[in-house]
């Protein structure tokens, strides 16, 4: 039986590794099912498409009850780096690609990648700071107009 979802539109607003991967896995999963997908990177989500920053995303160890470590401990120097290293190791075991390679896969798979104009201006970024696979810089209005058919779903991460 076919799905009624025809297009998935994701807004990634955070720079933590778990949020970026959530968006990427879902966007890629959509393409693998024959569903269109697009990602709009805004605010800290832009870190995931900045050439210099994308391989340095971290898992959040403070204010993240899912980590099951006391918040004060999570804030100690090195804890976030250690947790990130461990998570990356687990991901590699599952053959999950690093952020840069994942973006290449998404782009090659036909997932459109957009940067938010307001956030790009706010962080004083230039186009050359962003990945080559980027499809363009859009306003939120432009992004809404991408939801141009029946069966579109918009998801904020």
């Amino acid at each position: 039986m076919g799905t009624k979802v025809k297009k998935m539109l994701f807004i990634l607003s955070k720079a933590t590794i778990e949020n970026a991967y959530a968006a990427f896995v879902m966007a890629n999963g959509a393409r693998m099912e024959g569903i269109e997908s697009e990602i709009f990177f805004t605010f800290f989500g832009l870190e995931a498409i900045q050439k210099k920053k994308l391989e340095h995303l971290h898992v959040a160890t403070v204010g993240n009850p899912g980590m099951h470590i006391p918040t004060m401990l999570g804030g100690l120097p090195g804890v976030e780096a250690l947790a990130t290293k461990m998570m990356k190791k687990e991901m590699e075991k599952l053959d999950m690609p690093p952020i840069g390679e994942f973006l290449e896969i998404l782009s090659d798979s036909g997932c459109r990648l957009w940067a938010c104009k307001l956030a790009v201006d706010m962080f004083h970024l230039k186009e050359e700071d962003l990945i080559d696979e980027l499809d363009g810089i859009l306003t939120i209005g432009d992004f809404y107009s991408r939801a141009d058919q029946e069966g579109c779903q918009l998801l904020f991460i």
Binding site: G29, R31, M32, G34, L94, E104, G110
Partner: protein, 102 residues
């Protein structure tokens, strides 16, 4: 359940995937491809052989694996098997549908 493909009785699961790879042959392959609106070309066969080889070696399939395969790149893969390439190509290749989310 049983399904008649290319005048042969073939055992398939509820999604149409072959249960026993030994029942697969090129004639069946062309028929399933036709049902998926895929016309087999030289490149399609190359990909099917790659997927079957992976299956026989019990190596899991993923889109990342396709990227590294050296047989085909991801863009071509999507173009050859439109609308869910790994799902369709494994169906045509007579091997199980990959279980991975990536």
């Amino acid at each position: 359940m049983k399904k008649i493909i290319a005048n042969k009785e073939i055992e398939v699961n509820e999604e149409g995937y072959l249960v026993d790879f030994k029942q697969w042959d090129r004639e069946i392959c062309e028929c399933i491809a036709g049902e998926c609106n895929v016309v087999m070309t030289e490149k399609h066969w190359e990909v099917i052989e790659y997927l079957q080889d992976k299956h026989l070696k019990e190596e899991p399939l993923s889109i990342r694996g396709i990227k590294k395969s050296g047989v085909i790149n991801i863009k071509e893969f999507y173009a050859l098997f439109p609308g869910g390439p790994l799902k369709k190509s494994t169906l045509i290749a007579g091997i199980p549908k990959p279980k991975s989310c990536i």
